[in-house]
Amino acid sequence: MPALVAAIGIALIIISRQIDISIGSQFSMCAIIAGVTAASGLPLGVSIIAAIGAGAMMGALNGVLVAYLKLPSIVVTLATMVTWQEALRLWQQGRLLSLPDGIQWFGLSQPVGQTVVISIAFILLIGAALAMKHLSAGRFIYAIGTDAEAARLAGIDPKRTTFGVFVLMGALAGLAAVLNLVQSPQVQPNCGDGLELKTIAAAVVGGVAISGGRGTLFGVLLGMLLLANVNPALTHFHQPPYWEKAIQGLVILLAVLADGLRSRKNQL
């Protein structure tokens, strides 16, 4: 579920024709910030706000560099990924952090807590899907992803929109970290490792065009479900786990291949 929340953000990023590979680091950083604030005795609400706020700030840094300094997002987020990751290691040394009671499941019972987490993720997904369709902001994101110059001529500010998408991505990474945090009584600083790959792959498999402008959040949900089930499927069919990565790679390649062939058809 937490990965789904992050995937919403990454889908918006890709639709606006950018990429963010720092979300795994953002996620870890937010998880630990939430964990540390909670462990220091502050109320859960403060931790949640701290995590989402920290995420939004990290997103804002990416946003400034990409939107206003016009730097390529792949390199910017590569640099911030390394920076946050190592800063976290320097700070936490990889310790497993135990959380106080009352954090898990937001202090509710397990079934209620699980329902809350799943509901939040789905409400967000549906909300974001509706916003992408029914709010001007959503249409702006599609517009700048399709053609930033045409968007500018149509009076949309591509810089502000891009910046906003990155901030939103960070905030969603923070929220995802919180949703992950409440699922167990301990938090590990490497909890976001590999999240960027997982979510980008889900978006691409779900039909979000890497060239921007096309894709739906419903597709992202399907992509997420498909990829998240490669591993359980191996388990269920009693297959050895070491094929997982190879299969994931093939699924990504097939998805991008299908997309490539489709857009080629469109051109003719």
């Binding site: 290691r89 497993l96 167990s184 009584p185 490497n190 909890c191 359980p232 388990t235 009693h238 070491y242």
Partner: protein, 329 residues
């Protein structure tokens, strides 16, 4: 302009080794370097604690450095840096047996004493191995404990760290051997990697529980896997129905053990392992421990047994509901 900067920089690069001047460090005491498999791991942080205590007693300087990700080349790099530093003793826990041995042999050639702990290198690459328990001992202890809990029958699964970790694979091998010999009614249904991520261990355990409804036990062989699997069992409402045993630190597992989700955590006294390893290294450097010895005095631990080239810490310890509160690591 371009050409000029090119030449200048080439000159500088060429001048680097020429300009080298060996700094003579005032070296009163021993410098002991402790290499963990990975630095961020609570297990090795605890080892370091014991090692620091030993170093303080000896008046020695302790360097502690290790890899932070699973890049197999990192341990070698660190060892080679220590050779450059001219440390006196290297105490190493080996991630990749064969590759680290290459570097440790170089250290020995450079006159550095080498002791291994936790996971051994090739025998010719070190003088002694501080054996907290043999791979065989660990494997057998795990399966024996699991078998005792399940009555020696039913399906069980293993959650490991990464598929490439050498010592984990060694332990799994001995689990399989022992099970085939002694517990024919038990069946290993799956081995899953958790990439040293607790959250992934939780997912894997959840998958295992639903894929194998008759699962009786899970064995976690790396430390993040045990709390991860415990949370999965707890959330699935199968606490007690599916037994969980694993290697891990008491502090990370005490809540689950007390709740009865995790039945047993197996570990040696990690702090003492760090302490003993440093003591053995120092003794080796001072000549108090030489090949052929059968015992040596390790500070506050007193006389420790030496078997061949293994310094023995003792059998692994089983932490259960009854005794887990007595340990603070």
């Amino acid at each position: 302009m371009k050409r000029k900067s090119f030449i200048v920089s080439l000159l500088i690069l060429a001048a680097l080794p020429l300009a080298s001047c060996k700094k003579s460090e005032p070296k009163g005491n021993l410098t002991i370097a402790l290499l963990p498999k990975s630095k961020g791991n609570q297990y090795f942080v605890t080892c370091e604690k014991g090692a620091r205590a030993a170093a303080a007693e000896l008046g020695a300087e302790l360097l502690f450095d290790g890899p932070i990700n699973s890049d197999p080349a990192k341990q070698n790099e660190i060892v080679e840096n220590w050779i450059t530093d001219g440390v006196d003793v290297i105490v190493a826990a080996c991630e990749n047996k064969d590759s680290i041995s290459t570097a440790l042999r170089k250290a020995q050639e450079a006159g550095i004493k080498v002791v291994t702990y936790d996971a051994d290198a090739q025998p010719d690459a070190r003088s002694f191995f501080v054996n907290q328990a043999t791979a065989q001992g660990i494997g057998e202890q795990l399966i024996d404990t699991a078998a005792a809990l399940t009555g020696g029958e039913g399906e069980f699964a293993i959650i490991t760290g990464t598929l490439t970790a050498a010592n984990l694979n060694e332990w799994i091998k001995f689990i399989k051997v022992r099970q085939a010999e002694k517990y024919p009614n038990m069946k290993l249904v799956d081995t899953k990697p958790c990439d040293d991520q607790k959250d992934k261990a939780q997912q894997e355990a959840t998958n295992l529980l639903s894929a194998h409804p008759n699962l009786k036990a899970i064995i976690g062989v790396c430390s993040p896997s045990v709390p991860g699997a415990a949370e999965a069992i707890k959330q699935a409402g199968k606490a007690g129905a599916v037994k969980l045993v694993g290697l891990g630190l008491p502090s990370e597992n005490s809540a689950y053990v007390k709740e009865g989700v995790t039945q047993a955590v197996i570990l040696w006294n990690v702090e003492e392992l760090g302490y003993l390893s440093v003591m053995a290294g120092a003794a080796l450097a001072k000549g108090e421990l030489a090949p052929g010895a059968t015992e040596f005095t390790a500070g506050k631990l007193g006389k420790m047994k030496v078997e061949g080239d293994n310094v023995i810490l003792g059998r692994p310890f089983v932490f259960t509901k009854e005794n887990i509160d007595q340990f603070d690591f």
